[in-house]
Symmetry: C2
Subunit: 283 residues, 2 copies
């Protein structure tokens, strides 16, 4: 595995690989790799000749007062995990490489960035869309691999790729979970042992939602109410949002119909730690 820190060198290498006829895959991450990232890398490995893992804690997608400074960073550990998972190139640019003096160009995906995470984290998806556009141009992949864990991010990136005509296929990989159901996240490391125990209620509440919907519940209020009750009863988590929306348009739903692709998504704070999770269901 080769480590590249310079964006121009990365771009030259990617172009050379394309010209050799290789199929390139990008797995963009903020590092602090866990088994969820490994699943992305394995999915990329199965589908591409050259797997590029980018590790960049992107400052522009963090809001004020968020965890940019304390976000876990351990490039030696990440590098070892990436190598084991079959990455060919580890791209680790610096902030100065990515945001040169005078940087002022941003990509905005308007409507899809507004609800849910966008409400709680203004500017977040502009930061995401902009850095993904940059990474796509730098690494020139045929395939870009993201996780379903960040469901709204996947929808926003899909729209940007389509609207701006990026010549890349998008692959969304299912969320990887701990034994008790907690979605893997680099932010789980922030949780106290007690919070960690309680956090299992998030995925349990999503399974409860699925169960209710599968058994015929069509009132969104009733489903969300049941989830809210579960989380409040068995944890100290402060609910940021619980939402049921159309999986493509992210339009909030009030009453479900049969045969709809829906997203059930939530964000809950445990102390200073904000966790998100979701499931996608065809009703």
């Amino acid at each position: 595995m080769k480590t590249i820190r310079d964006a121009s060198l990365m771009q030259q290498d990617a172009e050379a690989a394309r010209l050799r006829g290789s199929r390139l895959a990008l797995v963009p991450t903020m590092g602090a790799l866990h088994d969820g990232h490994v699943a992305l890398l394995r999915a990329a490995r199965e589908r591409a000749d050259l797997v590029i893992l980018s590790v960049f804690v992107n400052p522009t997608q963090f809001g004020k007062g968020e965890d940019y400074e304390r976000y876990p960073r351990d490039i030696d550990r990440d590098s070892a995990i990436a190598r084991d998972a079959g990455a060919d190139v580890l791209f680790v640019p610096s902030n100065e490489q990515m945001y040169e003096k005078g940087f002022q160009s941003f990509v905005t995906v308007e409507k899809l960035s507004a609800p849910f995470e966008g409400e709680s984290r203004p500017g977040h998806f502009q930061g995401v869309a902009t850095v993904v556009a940059k990474l796509l141009n730098i690494t020139k992949p045929h395939l870009a691999v993201f996780g379903q864990k960040d469901a709204q991010q996947a929808v926003v990136v899909r729209r940007m790729i389509r609207d701006l005509n990026f010549d890349v296929e998008l692959l969304i990989v299912p969320t990887v979970r701990e034994a008790d159901g907690l979605a893997m996240s680099s932010r789980n490391a922030y949780l106290s042992p007690r919070e960690r125990g309680e956090a299992a209620v998030l995925s349990a509440s999503l399974r409860k939602a699925e169960e209710l919907i599968r058994s015929g519940e069509r009132r969104v209020d009733a489903v969300v109410g049941a989830m809210r009750g579960m989380i409040s009863l068995s944890s100290s988590g402060a609910i940021d949002y619980i939402a049921i929306a159309d999986a493509d348009s992210l339009a909030r739903l009030e009453h479900l119909q049969t045969g709809q692709d829906i997203l059930v998504a939530l964000a809950v704070r445990f102390g200073k730690t904000r966790l998100i999770d979701n499931i996608q269901i065809t009703t």
Copy 2:
């Protein structure tokens, strides 16, 4: 010369040409081709194996009440000119191709879009940056060729290419002028014979500015005052702006120093027709 109307086909062709080792150049235009565009095509022809001319009257870069509807369109004439000038591919997408249902992703170059044209035409450069990003992704050129006539556009596009890491070289071709100095523009066709005669004063005022600066004038007020006097005296044109700015940062200057790269730019309305022109000078 091949005409392509479909963005996906254009992208496939461009990718195939790159994989064959060809060097691609894009000349993005809104059609109504004149000798200024021919100069862009010739510059591209000298530097590339495959010259792609795009003709697309981009609705998102026109403001309300501007000339989107009446902008001249004559694809048969454009096609003949493009062929004569050596274009290999004429890319003519429809609005529906470029802005599909649900389109909502935009590229914004913040500071450089604000002054001059940006003040008079809010949203103009967002429209330009977005469509150029799309065209770069669709046509995958090694080289993109623009005219110096749209000086601020060139600065905005240069910044976007750098900030978003587009792997493309930018070539800016000098403005082509009529015998009396009027900068070639598709909008010159709107002018009445009387306005057409008067419009020569724009380039004359720029030459006057250059003469003053070359002879040692360092006060921007004095230069702009002389230009304003000339234009008012000998035409019915309504001055939108006359500005002297740093050629890279577009920061407005009050006092010139020796060895500066400056832009002297103006926009003047003749009836409903808005003309722009500029010169770049090293003081």
